[in-house]
Amino acid sequence: MSAMPFAGVHVLDFTWFAVGPVTTKYLADYGADVVRIESAARPDGLRLAPPWTDAQPGIDRSQFFASFNTSKRGITLDMNQPRAREIFLRMLPWADVVTESFTPKTLRNWELDYDRMRAIKPDIILLSTCMQGQTGPHRDYPGFGNLMAALSGFYHVSGYSEAEPCPPYGAYTDFIAPRFAVCALIAALDYRRRTGQGQYIDLAQYEASLHNLAPMLIDQAATGRVLGPVGNRSERYAPHGAYRCTDEDGHERWIAIAVADDDEWRALLGVIGSPPAAAEFATMAGRMRRHAAVDEMIGARVRGRGAEDLTVALQAAGVAAYPVQNCMDLHRDENLAAFGFWHWLDHPEMGPSPYEGLEHRMSRTPGDLRRPAPKIGQHTDEVLGEILHLDAAEIDELRRDKVLY
């Protein structure tokens, strides 16, 4: 097997929460030496967030943090201390990439910017990612991906009607921006390898995430129309929705079904049975017009069926369908299992823990979750010894002075 693609690429990673860490995780799972620089004085918020091992909080017990920080090493450095900043600048020549995801004032407070870093390491690549970008009147806006999902339009196109927004779960845009950030970072690494030049990347979570609503924005600019929520309806499929099946163990079970044409409609009827009323719904246009009646008919006919068996029967007949899965279902899902999606890594404090795996597989240079997430400061001695050749006595002193903290 070939070496991992980013073997030998060194990253000093100040990012926290989700967008930055998920971005650098892609590099780490493919061989980059990513060193998370954290401080117990202001820990990564995900370290304080559930789920925790045994449901007990602790700075090294969050799976939320762990899942987003595999294959990385971790050191502590309280950058609010001048001596910590000196140590960072001494480490900088080792790095190929520096990443950070604070509001812009944090780096200013540390008297750090791209030019200062470039003076020390001319070909450094610096990625800054915050909510709204490094320039403009709203650049210092603090927030999380749930707020950005509202601000960038996702809440508006989620729900049963405009009067009743019903947002996507969680910090949705946190899971859009990283892929754009990784493309930008690898483009910069590739350019640097070809030309010897580094560069500065300013990625606003806002601007990257809006690409997932580009059709709505193009439409509004061209025609003034403002698209809103449509519940489970579609202009492309009918029927199209979620239908309740037989409850299992006292829990609701639903199936999602999408019918793309009249052949698939007949196939659906072949599986669920065809009441006389179905004749009225033979054409796509007819089903679109009377979607509520179609929903009612399907709902009545699948209410007594098991979601899993019905999925198998519908898919065998050529109709797109799948159970509406909860998080327990995901762990039992045969397709995710066959893909090797789930990983159990043995974390020094958390023990064997469930990690989401890669969403793709590569034939020749596969990525891997090479190790569990670091405990806070787990690799401080190792990394400072390796990069700066600090000895144990020097490290002890810095730790005592809360520089390494």
């Binding site: 939320f64 049963y160 899965q325 995901l330």
Partner: protein
């Protein structure tokens, strides 16, 4: 990049086009599927009017090519011999059946990176399953968490699953590209759409294992187990995303209470010394029934206050007072956002077929040495047949006419 994908991979080619790659959309007779995805400009269907098409095929070139015809397949082989990347999202086995699977292409071009986007992977019992955006949304666990408890779980109203998969195909192709820089060899990538949606769940997958239970959909309330917080408030002219909580949200929570006090809109109990009892340090932990009663009352008071404010007033105060909040913006709000204009975000491109300009989202990031961003409008069907088959593959006018006559292009 040769882009043979549909709505499961279109964003991959779009990202590459934005980074300056020459992306050629290979379209079957009648045009690629994304041309037929509604809604359309002014609700008028037409091959150049689909909003999804205009958004995610922008900046690509278009050729027509019939994979059912042997001459068409031979042309694709010639293009593949010159290409750096292929992205496709056909049903599993289809490209192999045409003699255009990864192994066959790698024989003529070992440098090539070949990404296959699949709904459910290529190994499980569902490897041949059909999907649609709503079905992937359900399979990946996102749908279960979205919707009101008494109503069906819901999708997002604009398709998302294919965009996560297309973005993932772009990332994996870039990683493979970096690997190729070391040794000149390409490889095959399989993207799993269902897994892409699992990654949007903010690690909820671990909840049932570590905390013994899983989340249910809870409408506008955040569903952290043991914690129930309202996340969407009504205001005078719309809605606002806001959360009363401790932890990282504590300063913001106290700031909104201070604002209410300034305006004489805070009940006395809300502003008493020491703040709300119920705001736990972490902001995530389960609180007592008493704490919840207090939070419910606080949410009611804040809701009444927000009803007296417009989205614009709220947004100005969010920025001024550093509140963790955001208006529920629609397309018109976003188009008018001064922040995006200050950063020259939107880009206007000329669409020859429509005879008009279109304004679209611009650079996904600002790169100082190698700027990225939209390279033009989505192409008319077959617009680049002559450039690609003539200039690139060296076919004469006569030969191109024959290919057209035979139905190969």
């Amino acid at each position: 990049m040769l882009d043979l994908s549909d709505d499961k991979g279109a964003l991959c080619g779009k990202l590459f086009a934005d980074m300056g790659a020459d992306v050629i959309k290979i379209e079957p007779p009648g045009g690629c599927l994304t041309r037929r995805i509604p809604p359309f400009l002014e609700d008028q269907p037409g091959p150049d009017r689909g909003l999804y098409f205009l958004a995610y095929e922008a900046g690509k070139r278009s050729v027509t090519l019939n994979l059912e015809s042997p001459a068409g397949r031979a042309l694709l082989g010639e293009l593949a011999a010159r290409a750096d990347f292929i992205v496709e999202s056909f049903p599993l086995g289809r490209m192999e059946a045409l003699g255009l699977g990864y192994d066959a292409i790698a024989k003529i071009n070992p440098r090539l990176i070949y990404a296959s986007v699949t709904p459910f992977g290529d190994t499980g019992p569902g490897r041949d399953y059909k999907t649609a955006d709503i079905v992937t949304w359900a399979a990946g666990g996102a749908m279960y968490l979205m919707g009101e408890p008494g109503q069906p779980p819901i999708q997002m109203s604009l398709p998302q699953a294919g965009l996560h998969a297309g973005g993932e195909a772009a990332v994996a192709s870039m990683i493979a590209h970096y690997a190729r820089g070391a040794d000149g060899l390409g490889q095959h990538i399989v993207v799993n759409m269902q897994a892409c949606i699992v990654w949007t769940l903010m690690n909820e997958q671990a909840m049932p294992i570590l905390h013994g239970d899983y989340l249910r959909r809870s409408g506008v309330f955040t569903g952290a187990i043991g914690g129930r917080r309202k996340t969407v408030y009504q205001c005078a002219d719309g809605h606002l995303s806001f959360l009363l909580a401790g932890g990282a949200y504590l300063n913001s929570t106290n700031a909104v209470i201070a604002w209410m006090k300034e305006e004489g809109a805070a009940p006395a109990w809300l502003t008493r010394e020491g703040g709300l009892k119920s705001l736990t340090p972490s902001g995530f932990m389960a609180a007592s029934a008493e704490d919840y009663a207090e939070l419910d009352r606080a949410e009611e008071a804040v809701q009444s206050f927000f009803l007296t404010k417009t989205k614009k007033e709220l947004w100005a105060n969010i920025l001024k007072r550093r509140l963790f909040g955001a208006p529920v913006a629609n397309a018109a709000d976003i188009a008018a956002d001064p922040q995006l204009h200050a950063r020259d975000y939107f880009v206007t491109v000329e669409h020859a077929g429509l005879g008009r300009t279109l304004t679209m989202p611009g650079a996904f990031a600002k790169l100082s040495a190698t700027p990225v961003g939209p390279q033009g409008a989505a192409p008319q069907l077959g617009k680049h047949n002559r450039a690609v088959y003539g200039d690139l593959l060296g076919r004469s006018e006569q030969q191109i006419a024959e290919l057209r006559a035979s139905g190969a292009i």
